[in-house]
Amino acid sequence: MFGIKSPDKKSTFDVKRIRKDFPILHQKVYDHQLVYFDNGATTQKPQIVIDTINKLHTQHNSNVHRGIHYLSGQITTMYEESRQKIQNYLNAKHDHEIVFTGGTTASLNLAAYSFGEAYIKEGDEIIVSEMEHHSNIVPWQIVCDRKGAKLRVIPFNEAGELLLDEYKKLINDKTKLVAVVHVSNSLGTINPIKEIVAIAHEKNIPVLVDGTQAIQHGKIDVQDLDCDFYAFSGHKIYGPTGIGVLYAKERWLNEMPPYQSGGDMIDKVKFEKTTYNDLPFKFEAGTPNYIGAIGLGVALDYLQSVGLDNIRNYEKTLLDYATAKFTAVESLKLYGTAVNKVCIMSFLLDNAHPYDVGMFLDRAGIAVRTGHHCTQPLWSHYKTEGSIRASLAFYNTFEEIDYFCEVLNKIKKMFE
C-alpha cells in the first residue's frame, strides 16, 4: 500500500515484546513507571500507527475523491482500502455498509437522526438498556422528544447482567428499534448480543449495537450477530482519534435520509432538487478524516498481526488475575461481576471518594478514570455516583496489577 508498512505477524504472544510497540508506555509519571489502566477512555497507539500518520502527512496528503492528480488518487485508494479492512474485520457483507464518522458518538447521532426521520413516529417506542453510555441514550431521547415517541429501558441485575426476560416483556407492536451496548464501559459486562438480536428480529425489529468497548477485545462478526447497526471509535482500538465507524445493513442505509449534507454526499445539485451519492458517500458529507481512517486500518492490521485470539486469551488471564487480587483488597467493592466480561474493574473503596483515590493513584503513576464514566443511570441503579475504573488492555501486565493493589492498600489506610 504505497509504502505504508504492514506489521509483521507475531508468532507467539509476548507481552514484553508487545509493550515495545507502544512508545508512550515507557515513561515515568511523578517518578513512577507509568501504569496505564485507562484503556476504556482511550487506548495507546502502536508505533506503526504513529509512523503511518506521520508518513501520510509528510508524503501522501491530498483530499480524497476530489482530484485527478497522483496524490489524490493515491490517498483515495488507501482510504477505500481501509474501508475494506474494516469490512473484513467486521465481516460485513459489503464495503459500502461501512460509513466513516468522527467516532461512536457521531455514529450514534447519525443513526438516531436518520433512522428517526425515516421510521419513528408518535407513539412508537425505542428500547435501550440501563447500562448504556449517555451517547446511546441522549440521541434517542432527542428522537423521542422530536417525534413524540417513548424510550423503554432494559434493567440489569446486581452483577450487571441484562435481564432478558424483562427485555422480552418490553417488546411490543410499537417497538421500532433496540439500541444496546455490546460491552458496558462501566462494568465490563459482555451482553448476549446474538440473543438480543434474535429476540428483536422475531418481531422484525432492527437492533443497533454500540460496540465501543467490544471491538478491541476480540473478533466481531456482524453477519453472525445479525445486528442491523454496529458503531465504534478508532481511538478505542489502538487507532487515531477523530475517526469512527457506523456499520449498517445496506437496506437501512438505502432507506435512511442523510444526516449531514454538503460536498461529496451528492449526486447532482440543482436549486430545484438535489440527488444523493451512492452508499456509503451519502453519509460522508465534506472532507472525511481520511488520515484517521487509514490509520485505523493500520491499527486493525496490527491487532490481527498480534492475533485476536491471543489478545482475547491474554486479556482473560489478566481479568481472572485482577479479579482475584482486587477482591482481596479489604473494603473494596467491585461493581460488575457478570460471568461474561472484559477486563474492566470498577470499584469503590470504603470511606474514600473516587476522585480522591484517583488522585492518589495518579501520584503513584497509575492512570485510571474516576466518576460516572458517562453512565449516570447505571450508577443510579447502584445508588452511587460513580466509581474508580481500571480498564486493562493486552499490553498491561500481572506486575502492574500487583503494583496497583499494593498502592490501593496504602491509599485505603490513609482514609481509615
Partner: protein, 140 residues
C-alpha cells in the same frame, strides 16, 4: 488575627511536610474534623456547579460578618475547605473581598491538585468571594 496572619500560620504548618503524600494525609485529617453542613443546606440547589466532586455551599451574614457553611463528598476537598474557612469565614465582606489568598501557592497546595480539581476549587473560592461582594452591596 488578620487573614494574613492565618495564611502565614497555614504556610508554616505545611512547611513540615517533606512530600506530597504527607500533605494529602494532613488535608484528609483536617477534612475529617470539618463539621458537616447543616442538613437543610445539603440540597442540590446549593451544589457548586461545575465541581467534579459534589460540594455544597451556603453563606449567611450576621452582625456584619459573612459565615460559610461548606461541605464536600471528598475528604481532600473537605481538608481544603477547612483551610479556606479558617482564612475567610466570620469576616467582614470587604475583608474577604480584599484578601489575596497567597497561602494556596506558598503552602504548595495548587501543585497538589490536578488542573480539573484545581478548577473546581477555584469555583468554590470565587463563590465565597462573590457572595462577600454581594453582602457588601446588600444584594443578598
Amino acid at each position: 488575627m488578620t487573614t494574613q496572619d492565618i495564611q502565614e500560620k497555614i504556610i508554616e504548618e505545611f512547611k513540615i511536610f517533606n512530600n506530597l503524600m504527607d500533605k494529602y494525609d494532613y488535608l484528609i485529617k483536617l477534612g475529617k474534623n470539618l463539621p458537616s453542613i447543616d442538613p437543610q443546606y445539603k440540597i442540590d440547589g446549593n451544589l457548586i456547579k461545575g465541581c467534579q466532586v459534589r460540594t455544597w455551599f451556603h453563606s449567611t451574614i450576621k452582625d456584619g460578618k459573612v459565615f460559610y457553611d461548606v461541605d464536600s463528598a471528598s475528604a481532600l476537598t473537605r481538608g481544603f475547605i477547612t483551610l479556606l474557612l479558617k482564612v475567610l469565614s466570620g469576616r467582614a465582606p470587604d475583608d474577604i473581598k480584599n484578601t489575596e489568598l497567597y497561602f494556596i501557592d506558598k503552602a504548595g497546595l495548587r501543585e497538589s491538585f490536578s488542573p480539573l480539581r484545581a478548577n473546581s476549587l477555584w469555583k468554590l473560592l470565587t463563590r465565597m468571594q462573590s457572595d462577600a461582594v454581594l453582602y457588601g452591596t446588600k444584594k443578598l
